[in-house]
Symmetry: C2
Subunit: 152 residues, 2 copies
DNA sequence: TTGACGATGAGACTTCGTATCAGTATTGTT
DNA sequence: AACAATACTGATACGAAGTCTCATCGTCAA
């Protein structure tokens, strides 16, 4: 829904932020990325923008809910253009493809938890990992490396 | 269940790892920590053990399921002695207290998702954030700092 | 046109973690 | 007991990810 440059620009302005050349460059780069990406990917494709500015802009876009964070199961943090409000990610461990989903029954869980613990639940973070259909079909056996989390 | 030094030592030996002085120091330090801690906390309380060894040992303990990782909502990674198998965390945003829980209906979610997406679900990561009873009672209003994620 | 202030970029710095590597300790074998 | 093989260690260099500082610049509004 909010995947369009103009909409983001509008949102920036509404919040009193300036729409500068640098920000536009970062924004273009971000929107041109594949499904998910690291800050480094953006850095590499915005050669005329300072490192700090790229980080600042990405943080800004997070605050504006234009981007969301995707936690890969090796612990690395990626970013993704956020196409809806609250959602979660289903990440393929093999090819890295990401699906969004919203149909988790988290409200029920929240109620359950609140009852059981007396906490006032304010938010949650859920990432699900698996193998997408294509990777299953390709028959490649997942490496199944113990329970360890190692970096790429 | 596995919060005892001897049990961990046994587990190490079973897996063919040596129980060295350094490992014992790290283990003691870890078990002496409060509910959750960073690697740095452990580093500070194990003065005679090398930095690399502390990291290595913590990774080892993760592999042995003696520790698990807790993702705080500011994005920082903490560790916690794992008292049961698969579980999730409910973290108080104010005081940092952590409760474990297992009663989430993730199997149902998994089935649902598998049907809807044709993924083969292999794992997930869920962290829930809120305010514990004590913090609510203390009446301290949560700072409500926009949607930003800032470090401590 | 001037002043205030937001934004920028270069680069130093911090934090968290891994890789390297020479040296030490332990183990099993004979 | 001697030995080689191997596990482990700590110092340190390195790397990735991100923040902070600060002088400078651009833009808006009076």
């Amino acid at each position: 829904m909010v995947s369009d440059v103009d909409l983001v620009v509008e949102r920036l302005e509404l919040r009193g932020h300036r729409v500068t050349e640098s920000r536009r460059r970062v924004l273009d780069a971000v929107l041109a990325q594949p499904a998910h990406f690291t800050v480094d990917d953006v850095l590499r494709s915005t050669r005329k923008v300072g490192r700090a500015t790229v980080f600042r802009t990405i943080r800004l876009l997070l605050d504006l809910n234009v981007l969301c964070r995707v936690l890969l199961d090796d612990g690395t943090l990626h970013y993704r253009v956020s196409t809806r409000g609250h959602h979660h990610h289903l990440v393929c461990r093999e090819c890295g493809r990401v699906e969004d989903f919203t149909q988790c029954d988290i409200p029920a869980l929240t109620r359950q938890l609140a009852n059981a613990t007396d906490y006032e639940i304010e938010g949650h973070w859920l990432e699900v990992y698996g193998r997408c259909r294509a990777c299953q079909a390709a028959g490649r056996e997942a490496a199944t490396v113990g329970a360890g989390h190692r970096r790429a």
